[in-house]
């Protein structure tokens, strides 16, 4: 009777950890998607910047590019951290 209860508890624990693992995996996948979108956006802005001939617009695009780079950097750091957490 006691063994049954422990087994049941272990099953519940495993299910709980599996859900947690699944949640982390999903988080990583979604983050990767956002990073990919940022990369595409960076390429697009670089292209637009090359076409621009107005000083103000050029400065705006340069700022946007730098912002995207900083966001990507931040995202990659979060991704590494999440991957480490997943392994541990």
């Amino acid at each position: 009777m006691k063994t049954m209860k422990i087994e049941k508890l272990l099953h519940k624990l495993q299910a709980f950890f599996d859900t947690e693992k699944h949640r982390k995996m999903q988080h990583i996948q979604e983050l990767k998607k956002v990073l990919l979108k940022l990369k595409k956006k960076e390429r697009k802005i670089t292209h637009v910047l090359q076409q621009a001939n107005d000083d103000c617009l050029i400065r705006h695009y340069q700022t946007e590019l730098e912002i995207i780079r900083a966001q990507r950097k931040k995202g990659i750091e979060v991704l590494h951290h999440l991957k480490k957490l997943k392994k541990s």
């Binding site: 956002v34 103000c56 700022t63 730098e66 912002i67 900083a70 966001q71 995202g75």
Partner: protein, 609 residues
């Protein structure tokens, strides 16, 4: 109810009570029944903290789906009135279009006929008072609970209990009434009878504001042979016309769309009533055939009346449902939206007050309306129109071209385009947030702040306009250039906010785009001040003009910041999982400043080509 009418009704009822014990019973039955309806409405409102609104939005994207929604909700709530009030409030809030709204009305017309079946099939055949008692006991227990949902369930059970009790009282009193007076003696044959009883049915429903109550009176009376079957049919037709009063009353506080929907409800029910009156004989025959096939006895007039009610409402749906679009055109030509001398709120509807999520959405849409007007004013100040934003290459050219002084009275336009809407929003919010739980209250508080940002942006534009008008006709080209730059940067910022709105629609990381917009505001400010300092140093402009430019550059900074803050609250949806991921990557103030500094370094001044 009007006070004068009340003064007339109270003595009349009192006299009636003194005259007849049975009349007192019938009136008490109707009152208990109506009280049950109110309790039922109260119960449903407890569950409208967002769930009902979400279901409505998801299940009404086609005419047939909206018809299904109308049918089910009216059948479930046993109140087409409540369904029409909800629909009008949603329509006024811009959450539904007129086609969908009319679809719901068609569905609720048919859904509400289930009430007649319940009364005729269950109410008169079973001793329903025995069911009413436990429902009332459990219901009252629920009402005393502190949990909102348990309280709501309590109101629902109490409502149902009172409905059944009301039916029971009426049934009993009509049975006793039969012994003393026979209303059947007042039966009127022929067309005259049809018309008079239709009018009585309409009037009774308008007074009681419940077609269910009229149906209950009619079915109970016909079941004990107090009125004849033909007159009862006319009463039912009248009840169906009279029930549109709820929508008409609700539409008084609604916008033009709400009025169109109420008009549509009246039109559908009135035309259906006329058609049924014209073809009453064939309808009667069809009811006999259908009733016989359903196993309803020829003498069971109560059940036959329920069949008749369903049949003619179904006929209304079959005849008019395919012509929804034509109805919309007709209603739009009858209820014409006038271009207002003073802009009025479009989405604030008092009838939405009972639905917290709808109130928040109404205020958001109204604030967007205010935002559009604010943009209109700001752009017009600089001689631009919103359509000019589509051609970004030409923006600078357009601003430079127009060297004539622009006569634009911001105070007058503010009175016309902003003040009415702004004060209505503030009044609406303060009327609403006293009674509500935190979630909706905080959303409303953000929206209130958003409106303040918009008003601030207009005030800053007004301050800026003074020097903009003065210096644009100056002889100094450098001054003109700087003022043109201010106008250009504001227009460019508005254009970028428009792009940001498109990014939200196409889900192109809008939250992350905000960082770039914030950085650009800071960067533009630094560049502007630096350019002004250089111009003063190089004596291209006088220090006096320079100080004016610095002040006006600060106004530009404030306008851009206020508009961005408003856009952030109005257009961004932060609840999605993608938004949560984006939130992790957004930059804080220090990180944005660092980027601005990087771009501002001399090496970055030349474009990387």
């Amino acid at each position: 109810m009007h006070k004068a009418f009340l003064l007339l009704v109270i003595p009349l009822l009192s006299y009636g009570f003194w005259l007849s014990e049975e009349f007192k019973g019938i009136a008490a039955g109707v009152s208990i029944f109506l009280f049950g309806m109110l309790s039922l409405e109260q119960g449903f409102k407890a569950f409208t903290g967002g769930a009902l609104e979400r279901i409505l939005q998801k299940t009404t994207n086609t005419s047939w789906k909206s018809f299904g929604f109308g049918f089910l909700s009216a059948a479930l709530m046993q109140s087409s009135g409540l369904v029409s009030i909800i629909t009008i409030s949603f329509l006024s809030a811009g959450l539904l279009d007129l086609v969908t709204g009319i679809g719901i009305i068609f569905g609720s017309n048919l859904g509400t006929t289930t009430g007649a079946w319940l009364i005729a099939g269950l109410g008169l055949k079973v001793n329903i008072a025995t069911y009413a008692m436990p429902l009332l006991v459990f219901g009252v227990l629920g009402i005393f609970q502190s949990s909102k949902h348990l309280k709501g369930a309590g109101y629902l059970l109490t409502g149902l209990g009172f409905l059944l009790l009301g039916i029971h009282y009426m049934k009993e009193s009509f049975e006793h009434f039969e012994a003393t007076i026979n209303l059947a003696n007042y039966a009127m044959p022929g067309i005259k009878g049809l018309l008079i009883y239709t009018a009585i049915g309409t009037l009774a429903t308008i007074i009681m504001q419940s077609s269910h109550a009229t149906m209950l009176l009619t079915i109970t009376a016909v079941s004990v042979h107090q009125i004849n079957y033909d007159n009862a049919m006319a009463l039912v037709i009248g009840a169906n016309i009279g029930t549109t009063i709820t929508a008409i009353i609700a539409s008084f506080g609604a916008n033009i769309q709400g009025k169109r929907l109420a008009g549509s409800h009246l039109l559908i029910n009135l035309l259906t009533g006329i058609i049924v009156l014209l073809f009453i004989k064939p309808f009667g025959n069809a009811v006999d055939i259908i009733s016989a096939s359903l196993g309803i006895a020829a003498s069971d007039h109560a059940m036959k009346l329920a069949t008749f009610h369903s049949l003619f409402n179904l006929a209304g749906v079959i005849i008019f449902f395919p012509f929804i679009n034509q109805q919309v055109l007709l209603l739009e030509s009858i209820f014409i939206e006038k271009r207002p001398a003073i802009f009025k709120p479009k989405y604030l509807d008092v009838s939405a007050m009972d639905f917290p999520e709808t109130v928040v959405e109404s205020v958001r849409l109204e604030s967007i309306h205010l935002y559009e007007n604010a943009i209109h004013i700001i752009l017009h100040t600089f001689g631009l129109r919103k359509r000019d934003l589509q051609e970004s290459d030409l923006l600078q050219q357009l601003i430079g071209q127009n060297s004539r002084p622009i006569e634009y009275d911001i105070d007058a336009v503010y009175e016309r385009r902003i003040k009415g809407i702004y004060s209505a929003i503030i009044a609406f919010i303060s009327q609403a947030d006293f009674t509500w739980k935190m979630d909706q209250s905080s959303k409303l508080s953000w929206l209130r702040e958003t409106n303040q940002h918009l008003v601030e942006a207009i005030k800053d534009t007004k301050h800026l306009q003074k020097n903009w008008t003065r210096f644009r006709t100056s002889n100094n080209q450098a001054t003109i250039n700087e003022y043109n730059k201010i106008a250009y940067q504001i227009a460019l910022h508005i254009q970028q906010i428009e792009n940001f709105r498109h990014e939200i629609e196409s889900n192109e990381l809008p939250l992350l785009s905000l960082d770039a917009l914030k950085a650009n505001i800071k960067n533009d400010d630094i560049q502007m001040n630096r350019a002004i300092e250089t111009l003063i140093r190089e004596r291209q402009i006088t220090p006096e003009t320079g100080s004016s430019l610095i002040n006006d550059s600060a106004y530009m900074y404030s306008i851009k910041k206020n508009l961005l803050k408003a856009a952030e609250t109005l257009f961004l949806h932060s609840g999605t999982s993608a938004a949560k991921i984006e939130q992790q990557l957004t930059l804080n103030e220090a990180e944005i400043n660092e980027v601005v500094h990087t771009v501002d370094t001399p090496s970055m001044h030349q474009p990387d080509r």
